[in-house]
Subunit: 293 residues, 2 copies
């Protein structure tokens, strides 16, 4: 095979990847080649534009470190992450909706007992978070793993200030009634990290990098699909223009303001604080399997 | 905008990038989003597959250094480089055909006089290369820049053994009659670097990484389109299965074998050597401009 023109080259590459021993890899490779080549034929990049594309991808890769995932940011800002999420979580039931993982999850976060204040050295408005984890029919799930992480009042995650260690981040376990709780500080809206290639892309596309304030949750219980989601702060200015398209109405809650006084867990508060409550419902694996079928 | 499903998410992202101030960036962004989302909707990746995709791109970025360009290898092996080449060089004339740049070009190669032996410390069959550079109608182009680079007998480029410095690589200038010449050693077929993510991809796709033996040329002359091409060794086993789809019949030449004796430039050869001759024709910029119109 030689002498390809702008149409026969696609056939040639498809013929080559048709030898993939694994059927799924073959399927993905073929679809990738078709859509990628159609994209190129549509936009007809100059050699200089192709070079810019190579440089953009290279810079994006070089920006990735143990605590910065620029390709996830790219996927998020191009709507790919939420599209993959929608494809995999098209529940027609009362199960809690999912949203993007984001680039700031840390494997194996610090395990703490329910009720712990995880805000460490951070200053901000105290926030009491409590809720429950149940299966689809409302049966509580005891001993479920509840990972939580959120930004500080300036909109930064702990891993963006590595020198300070992990904070505003924890792993909790639900009790016999499927309940959990913790103290922290109220998170702020924040721009996704935009000092890299993705930030340049957003600027070139005339877009802002902001996300509405939220608390991340990742919840796991045996026999259930892992839930990756956020709870957003009602009234946030960016709920309708989230830079990563992650907002769903069912995930918005009032972070109810309270004057100083006694909190639900008996803590005496000498300053105003806020309260978030959310009851999560997980999708049983059997339901997930029958959906996929 | 909130609560996106797997179709409305595409509309939402398109609406967002519609604000791009630059019309070309808007056009490219919109096409990228449409084709990327259609690709995702077609293959319906699981979350685990999406994670593998992110990891693949990240690894590809991390593999890129000053002397290793893994994203160019990815573009080459997916046929994108030759597609971009075809789009930009759809000449219906006698102009020399172009092919991929490849990842081994070095900016500002060592300038040498015509006739120089550029093989340095490398062992191999001596090769005498000569030829000419002319414009479309055959008028010689004097003082044209002729950059050349090729692999050693083991199929490696100088930059893959950084400790040895630049070799089998040079910048020449054509003389008054548009002629150039140099000595080196005959290059070998080689596998593209396949110890990285692209190598894993090729293996998963059931493909070999080999390229037929060739000498790279990049030729520039005022008033003409820059020519990026190779000349391939006739009879090579990989001419029909080049891993980057770069072969064109017009770029294949005999590297004629000669017994020991006197070479065309008077050099007395005490061992067998080979000879490559190629006459290049460049595309005048005016022709390029009228094609693009
Ligand atoms: Cu497409
Ligand atoms: Fe976040
Ligand atoms: Fe090469």
């Amino acid at each position: 095979m030689r002498n390809f023109d702008q149409f026969s080259i696609t056939e040639a590459v498809l013929e080559r990847v048709a030898n993939a021993p694994d059927a799924r890899i073959r399927e993905i490779s073929e679809a990738l080649v078709r859509h990628l080549h159609n994209f190129i034929r549509e936009v007809r990049p100059t050699q200089a534009e192709w070079e810019k594309g190579i440089a953009f991808l290279t810079d994006t890769g070089h920006m990735c470190t143990g605590t910065r995932q620029e390709f996830i940011l790219l996927s998020d800002t191009l709507g790919v992450s939420m599209l993959v999420d929608a494809i995999n979580h098209d529940h027609q039931t009362a199960v809690t909706e999912s949203t993007v993982l984001g680039p700031f999850y840390v494997e194996g976060p610090p395990e703490v007992a329910c009720g712990t204040d995880i805000s460490g050295h951070l200053e901000g408005e105290p926030m009491f978070v409590s809720g429950s984890v149940a299966t689809l029919d409302g049966t509580p799930l005891a001993n479920a793993i509840v990972d939580v992480w959120h930004s500080d009042v300036d909109g930064y995650y702990d891993v963006q200030h590595e020198e300070n260690g992990l904070v505003a981040r924890a792993r909790l376990r639900t009790d016999d009634q499927g309940r959990f709780s913790f103290w922290s500080i109220k998170p702020a809206a924040y721009p996704i990290p935009h000092d890299g290639p993705v930030g340049k892309m957003l600027e070139a596309q005339g877009r802002h990098p902001w996300r509405p304030a939220h608390v991340h949750f990742m919840i796991e219980a045996p026999g259930h699909e892992k839930l990756v989601t956020h709870v957003f702060v009602a009234g946030d200015a960016y709920l309708d223009s989230d830079s990563v398209f992650g907002v769903k109405d069912s995930l918005i809650r009032d972070f109810t303001a309270h004057a100083q006084g006694v909190a639900p867990d008996g803590r005496v508060m000498d300053q105003p604080w806020c309260q978030l409550t959310y009851d999560f419902k997980l999708n049983p694996v059997s339901a997930a399997a029958s959906q996929a079928a």
